[in-house]
Symmetry: D2
Subunit: 248 residues, 4 copies
């Protein structure tokens, strides 16, 4: 219980370097901004990773210690190494790591592969979004009011081509007449995935205290379970009968 | 966070008084036995309640302080006061109290009313049951192996006429060729309900350390959430537009 | 397969008699209006029923022949006989009848009892609603576009205190900044329930061809299954072992 | 409605050629055996496909006409072309094709990629399996009794590392003390997937009339929906506001 959680925040980290508007909002990158508001929690050990780092930011050694992985990508989804994606997928399915996918990560190889989806949606101009709390009893909604407003966020619109989530925690309303499933939980293998829609690079969603609270809650929800046994990697043959245990 | 959880273990408490076999297993009642193995957790404040107590064991004052309610009943389901059942139902739906229904409680007014089910099933002779862990990543499965065996437990057989659970955590195998959905989570209103099948009055399920662990896990899973707002009791009229908030 | 489906459309049928605006929209009642757009389907045998009819419109004989029951109620929920509600609940759970609950029926005894919910929500002024198709592959969404607009519909707002639906087929967007889970499937016992939010007595939702299509689809989805055995009414004792069948 | 459904039964078709026991059971292959019991349905147009056929049995032309694809594979999962797997995945997600995965297909690239799972499980000796009907109201359970027995079937044991199914229709009981989620529905993108566990090449599951009925039901459940619009392939930009439609 007292062990620190190892969090890796992976960010494509391109927009922040080339677009002054984004730089102004997130001067050290979205990942660094998130790390900053997580720092008050002494039980989190947060590492930053970016696409242009060696090994695309995630060495095998780092991955093997990661309890929860964040994923923010947008313009360079295609550059992410398929081998890395597969390693991430296997680690999530093995229940060793939770996954939190942010905003445009809906189209990342990681999200599409881990969740099993095209992740298709429609999108449009930045506008006001109201986030509604659909499952107030869900751990990820702890401390969140029945609704809160984001002054400006990129429009993401239904239909969102995802499997029906295992839990639909938040829904979004947009000025222009659209709605979106904005906070979705998925269970895959022995692992947990949370998708959070707000987080456009031109907007200030990550400044919002409720968004920060949702992200903190999501870490606790997605972190690896306390398994009572070793989750196997493969399809082991059964050599004994349970019924034989009855005679012992 | 440091506030103690108020747990009420309600037990019909009839079998234990009239059947020497049951008395021998649970001399002070099943509820007292459960309280005993919960005592190591200093953050739980456990109260016992029984059908033949005044107010059928649950006064309004007690109910209003209860965070998690256990329910074990069997031979006297019909005697339970409908008004009490409705109060319990409303408190669960309001998200103020979790509910853990044990064994033959599947046919209690409380279970049927709160979950929305007949709770019908078939039943038969006591026999060996193997409990399988179907969702090792679920909080209620924390610390539970892939399977464990109960030497003797009453046969409860599918089809079990419940709505598909929101999470099916455990499945049971029986010697005579039957299976059962033995550990089921339901979400209702803003509250959480867990049903656990083992717990026959003639058997020793509650002596089993894994069953004890499951019950402890279930308390933490079912306890009231940290709501970010007051869950309303009724259907309030909306007098303001969210869009008006945009102008403030 | 060629057997006709017996549909009963139950309507409180009070507003239409006392409010000229409602009378003008639905002169013979909302139930008669629905019957009218169902008449093109020769395989449906539709019966109307109303609160002020003898036996509140539903005799035991009628109920025993009903394959799908519609329920529209609003101002007189409290007058509905609890015994009738329980009969309906049991018939749905037994898988003998589907249930389609319309609009303000979210607060009917039938909905609350069958689904297991308070059905609480917030409500407000009539306004434009956009219905979004969240599960285009669901049978109830057959033939429905990605979205369509209702010129005016009563505002029903989240949080809607229902259990997470087994399928969330439609979501609603409202002018004033609200969203709603507008088309929800629930599985209970061996039966199916569909809740459809549009249908305010002062509005013309039932004139909309997509709403009509949704209602037709819902009948086919909710109708009783072709069960391969008799669903039991109770908890029968098991007198034989499945394992004994192995020796025959 | 009167259009015939195009069914493609893909089979690895290796065991049947090299193992006399399998040849005796399924002389023309498991796929041909399934086609044979489907032939009474005049509305099905069934095509056989095998791994060693040109294009691994599935040309682009064939795939584009396929309404429901069956997949049986075991010893040669690794030989299946990744490009073909991706085409299948996209067609399912687009809602243009249902997918029915049989038995050892749980470890196929197709199942793992489409559903998003490792598909890991444990396995053991052939033995008696009792199939229990957990959702009698589900369309895939139409006409199926509360249970039926397979004289001999390969042991597949929990934990089965799949996401919790959208519907768990059947559960299996095995002599040696194991259970399995034997019939599982998954929704992915706009498509539907059914996994059916019985079907070992050394056993006669496909001879069983209930298994045959389940497969026939699954075709009707998994077939493409009647979409009310074109499911997009990608993430189109939104150029108009829904709210603008209000003014037309």
């Amino acid at each position: 219980m007292s062990k620190k959680l190892n969090i890796v925040i992976w960010n494509e980290f391109r927009h922040e370097k080339i677009d002054p508007v984004v730089t102004a909002l997130y001067p050290n990158g979205i990942h660094a901004f998130i790390k900053d508001f997580l720092k008050e929690d002494e039980n989190l050990n947060v590492t930053l990773a970016a696409l242009d780092d060696p090994d695309q930011g995630i060495t095998d050694e780092l991955l093997e210690q990661t309890d929860v992985l964040f994923w923010w990508g947008h313009m360079a989804h295609g550059e992410v190494d398929d081998v890395l994606v597969e390693k991430i997928r296997q680690r999530v399915y093995a229940g060793k790591m939770g996954l939190i996918v942010l905003h445009s990560g809906h189209h990342s190889k990681v999200f599409k592969s881990v969740v099993g989806a095209t992740g298709n949606l429609s999108w449009g101009r930045d506008q006001k979004e109201v986030i509604w709390n659909l499952m107030p009893a869900h751990p990820i909604a702890a401390g969140i009011p029945d609704h809160f407003t984001l002054e400006s966020e990129e429009l993401y619109a239904e239909p969102f081509y995802i499997p029906q989530p295992d839990a639909l925690v938040f829904g979004g309303w947009y000025e222009d007449g659209f709605i979106f499933r904005s906070g979705c939980c998925f269970l895959r293998g022995a692992g947990k995935i949370f998708y959070l829609q707000p987080g456009h690079e031109y907007c200030k969603a990550y400044y919002n205290p409720y968004i920060q609270r949702i992200i903190k809650n999501a870490i606790q929800w997605a972190k690896p379970a306390d398994f009572g046994y070793e989750i196997p990697n493969g399809a082991p043959q059964i050599l004994t009968k349970v019924t034989d245990e009855f005679n012992n």
